[in-house]
Structure formats: C-alpha cells, structure tokens
Symmetry: C2
Subunit: 181 residues, 2 copies
C-alpha cells in the first residue's frame, strides 16, 4: 500500500473519536450519556448520532445498558484516552514551545490527534518532558530560541551558509558545520 493511502487506514475516524471522547466527558459532567446527550454535545442530529453510536457498539467500542445509558468499553476507553493524550501533547508543544496562538494550536491538534501513531505520540511526549522538566540545557535552549525567534522569522537567507534566494526549506538539509545526527 502506498504511503498516501494510509490516510484512510486508522484505528478510528476523526468523527468516531469525538463520539467516544464525548461519552466520557458526559459521564464526567452529567453522570451519564444517552444518544440524545451525545447528539446535543456534538451539535449533530439525534438521527446521525443514533447511526454512528450503533456502529461504535457493533465495533465493540461502547456498551449500552438496559436503560440505554452508554459507556465506553475497555478498548473504546483506551482509544479515547490515547487520542486525548495526543491532543494534549500537541497543544502543549504548539502553544508552549512553538508559541503558536492557542486557538490555532487547538485547531491543529484536534485535526491530527487521531492520525499520529503511538510511536510519534510517545517520542513527542519524551521530547516535551525533557524540554519542560527543568534541565539547564533545555532552559537555555528554549530561552535562546524564543529570544532569536523574531529574527529567525524574518530570515531570507540561511544563518549558517548565508545563501539567500531559494526556498527556506533547503536550509533544513544538514550543513557541513550543522548537526547531522
């Protein structure tokens, strides 16, 4: 399978992920979650919710008791938790490290939270932990990065090789005196 077709092959769709997360949120906030509560919370019609929730039940992500109260199954809860974690990690990185405006950070994180792999989520978490847990080198790096950010944002030539003109992206290729790992 070509890489670009992997886009359709995820553990769960964006929409379904939000159904699951909403059920947990409703149980936290209201104490229960029924079809109509989920529909209201997501601003979709009860008809759409009914169909999607039926399919999520059939897939084993949630269960319904005799009184039509919904709750997540163990796999459903694991999935919802994983996606919430990814969102939290992405928002933190975008907002607190990159200094992207918080609204945009939330939007971008929400779009990709269900798409990034467990591996990428974990590595990002470790990276953030190191960045934010008081290590002197991390502190110094971040301070210097933020301080030089405004200058960097206006760069039209590479700060290392000083070549101008071309797309700034070429600067991501390793330089002789840069870090190549």
């Amino acid at each position: 399978m070509e890489i670009w077709k992997e886009f359709e092959h995820n553990e769960i769709t964006h929409s379904a992920a939000h159904y699951l997360m909403t059920i947990n949120k409703l149980i936290d906030d209201l104490g229960y979650a029924r079809v109509s509560d989920v529909a209201r919370s997501l601003s979709i019609t009860p008809g759409s919710a009914s169909i999607m929730l039926k399919s999520l039940k059939e897939k084993g992500f949630l269960v319904e008791d005799k009184n039509r109260f919904l709750r997540l199954s163990e796999p459903g809860d694991r999935l919802a938790h994983s996606i919430k974690s990814h969102r939290h990690i992405m928002i933190t990185f975008f907002r607190d490290v990159l200094h992207i405006n918080p609204e945009q950070a939330e939007i971008d994180a929400c779009k990709i939270e269900h798409l990034i792999s467990t591996e990428t989520g974990e590595h990002l978490l470790w990276f953030l932990q190191f960045l934010m847990c008081g290590d002197e080198h991390a502190k110094a790096f971040l301070e210097r990065y933020w301080a030089s950010k405004d200058k960097l944002c206006n760069l039209t030539s590479c700060p290392v090789c000083d070549k101008a003109g071309e797309c700034l992206l070429v600067q991501l290729e390793p330089h002789e005196d840069g870090l190549t790992d």
Copy 2:
C-alpha cells in the same frame, strides 16, 4: 463552529492534495501528465482520476491544454508546494529530531501535511532552523536530549516532582521549578 468540526474545513482534501503533487511530479519525471498518468501514478482507476481531476479543474487548481496535458494553475501550485513543505518539515522533525523511525515518520507526516495551518508550519520551520543551524545551545540541548532519551523513555515518575503512578501526561503541566514561559 465547534473545533472538532474544523476537521472537514481545509483548503484541500488529502486525496486532492496528492493529485496535485502527483501532477507536478509527473511533469518533472515524464515531462507531462495526463489523466491516465495520474491514475497510474496514484494506483487508482482512470475513472476515479477522471472525476477528481475534473473537479480540480472546476476549482481552478489545474488546467488542461488542447492535447489533454495537465498542469497546475498558480493557486494549485502554491497549494501543492505548501503541502510538500509541510511534509518535509514534519518528516525532518520526526526523523532527525525525535528519532522516530523513518517509515513511521513518513506515514505520520503524510497524514497531517495538508491539515496543519500555515502558522503551525512556519513556527515548526523556525524551530527546526534554530535546532539545526549550528547554535551552541541548540547543539548542547539536542546532544543532551538524545543522550537522556533512553532513560526518559522508561520514566514512570516525574523527573522534577518525582511523583509516580499517574499518567505521564500530567508531567506536561508546568512545575514550580520548571519552565512556564
């Protein structure tokens, strides 16, 4: 509009983005791009390609000459270039900074390349530029990060507050002695 519904509201869909990028690639490689070339290159049927390419023409992202050769319009090319840039930035960050395995880095980058905002793409580029352009603090930070990564990966308690047990994610909340920006 709630944030979660923004997922559907992008400049271009994942599929359409790859049609555009494929046309540029074909013109580079073959010198031209026709409907069937695009279909072959993307491993989809000519029928599907015909329909999608018609809609991309109608949207003004590409043009077709009298001999049915396709090329991107200015807006189409701008979009394709932006998405390729995002992919390049994400792959570089995932692979060369986070040390995610290259295949997974490519898959994840491909899934999100068309979803991240211009703002997020730019900030990530600046971050990478600072990380990779030879600054001493960046070098020291990366070396120390990579060196401590194995230890960090196995953490079950926070290296700052030393609290164990809970989800590691809580460690992303700012600590008293950590960096809070």
